[in-house]
């Protein structure tokens, strides 16, 4: 396959990485990234942390300088949404065209989709009150920041990563913070009960009120501004800001227009990041992919690591190479002075081993399936995290019977599987 003109839809971390890798791998044809936001590609993780705290500005969030794109002949179109997209026919040589919200036509011979995801909305009465906020992009972060200094009462709906990061920042800024979580533990989708319980206690120790199994009935307000969140039992928790972080929905709309296989909004790809139409690759948050460490399950990975590593694979596939996606998933979340680092995917675990004492705020939870290491959560313990990340990458394991022994470095317990 030899392309003259590649279009990347989506100007986030994934879209940017596809473009960068295409150039690094020697692609010399036209290359265009189109994104809906008014900004070029930027880092999202700091939005809930350093940017909110005022420790990072917009320029520092840029993934590449503007001159980087110019020098490499990468056209970045911002503030335009691709609304229509199609190929002129089914064969590998057929060209395609995308039409943006301004009516601009973008012709392509190769196509990559990196549309990302959008926050899941909470359709309760009062959802339109000002101050009921979500956090995905810079515009969201700027709105949150604009209300930040005058807000005293912050209610976070959803005890996942975004919510807990914002809660930690709000407590550090001296605000009264309540986290409302519908499940019976925090971060339930991603970590074990041990890690969940640690974070509940750690946030409580820092002055955040964590309410599990919380049932919400409505947002209450004064005029058009939110003033509180009402629970099912009638109690109203005062709120100047409500930050809702209850997960995201993959943006598979364009993939559907192209007739690609899409499940619950997520674009289905193979281990080469090819969609069901092999002319089209996709990467990032919006993609449902085969588990990168094998096993046959499909997973969706909302992480920088996946956006970067899968995009490299997608770029290779566009250039006719066949590189399998085999990267160890990893993730981090900074909450106050707690650094959670995760390597591997714990989905399907049947055993956990806690290494160290959670009360010391420095410990690890190792996950096993049928005796074999599959993942680790570490809190303030980078050596354990790195040891497992390396072990999983090398196909190695750790014996669960020895894993809790903190008298030896975890790295020394790694053995061949």
């Amino acid at each position: 396959m030899s392309h003259e003109s590649i279009l990347i839809v989506g100007a986030g971390q994934a879209g940017m990485q596809i473009a960068v890798t295409l150039r690094e791998d020697g692609y010399e044809g036209e290359l265009t990234i189109v994104g809906e936001e008014p900004h070029g590609p930027y880092q999202r993780p700091p939005l809930s942390k350093a940017y909110l705290a005022g420790d990072a500005d917009v320029e520092s969030l840029e993934l590449r300088s503007p001159s980087f794109y110019v020098e490499r002949g990468i056209v970045v179109i911002t503030d335009e949404k691709v609304e229509e997209i199609s190929f002129e026919g089914p064969s590998a040589d057929d060209r395609g065209v995308a039409v943006t919200s301004t009516g601009r036509e973008l012709h392509f011979t190769g196509l990559a989709l990196a549309p990302g995801s959008t926050p899941r909305r909470l359709p309760l009465p009062g959802a339109d009150f000002g101050g009921v906020l979500y956090l995905r992009d810079l515009a969201d972060a700027d709105e949150l920041k604009s209300r930040w200094s005058t807000a005293q009462n912050v209610v976070v709906v959803g005890g996942g990563f975004i919510g807990l990061e914002v809660a930690a920042g709000a407590r550090k800024a001296g605000k009264t913070v309540t986290v409302l979580e519908a499940a019976d533990r925090l971060i339930a989708r991603a970590v074990s009960t041990e890690t969940s319980e640690f974070f509940r206690q750690a946030h409580e120790r820092r002055g955040t009120s964590v309410r599990l199994a919380a049932q919400l009935s409505q947002f209450v307000g004064d005029g058009d501004q939110v003033t509180g969140v009402q629970l099912a039992d009638g109690e109203v928790i005062p709120a100047d800001i409500v930050l809702v972080g209850i997960g995201v929905i993959a943006r598979g709309e364009l993939a559907e227009k192209l007739g690609l296989e899409v499940i619950n909004g997520a674009i289905v790809v193979d281990e080469f990041a090819r969609t069901s139409d092999h002319r089209v690759v996709a990467s990032g948050d919006a993609v449902l992919l085969p588990h990168p460490l094998g096993g046959g399950t499909q997973v969706r990975l909302e992480s920088v690591q996946n956006a970067v590593d899968q995009s490299r694979i997608a770029a290779a596939s566009l250039l006719g190479k066949s590189e399998r996606y085999r990267a160890v998933p990893w993730f981090w979340s900074d909450q106050a002075d707690l650094k959670l680092q995760i390597a591997g995917l714990s989905t399907g675990y049947d055993q956990t081993v806690v290494r160290g004492n959670p009360d010391d705020e420095k410990f690890s939870v190792l996950y096993f399936r049928e005796g074999r290491l599959i993942a680790i959560d570490t809190v303030n313990d980078a050596p354990d995290y790195m040891a497992v990340r390396r072990a999983l990458g090398d196909g190695q394991t750790i014996d669960p019977a020895t894993a809790a022994d903190t008298s030896v470095k975890l790295k020394s317990l790694v053995i061949d599987a």
């Binding site: 993934l63 590449r64 690591q305």
Partner: protein, 107 residues
Amino acid sequence: MPEITYISPDGTTTTLDARVGDSVMETAVKNGVTGIVAECGGACACATCHVYVDGAFMDAVGEAGDLEDDMLDGTASERTPHSRLSCQIKMRDDLNGLTVRIAPKQV
């Protein structure tokens, strides 16, 4: 603006003007110096921005912090006394001329 010189594993050298306060990693990545991966964007979470600091600047750059020290134990390339994670070195005027060698393997 203080200058930084990056020496790539293949021997290529690139000299860039850095914004004071930006890290050695950010300056490289934003301007397309290859070899510094920096997947986490500077959160000291990935150990993929490993560099070797030129001997003449070791004292001025200072020592790695505790978290960085731990992460350096897991780098893909060999750790030496000159090893640092470039996301943790913030540029200052007195680091003008800083030279770093980029570790050959980051992931």
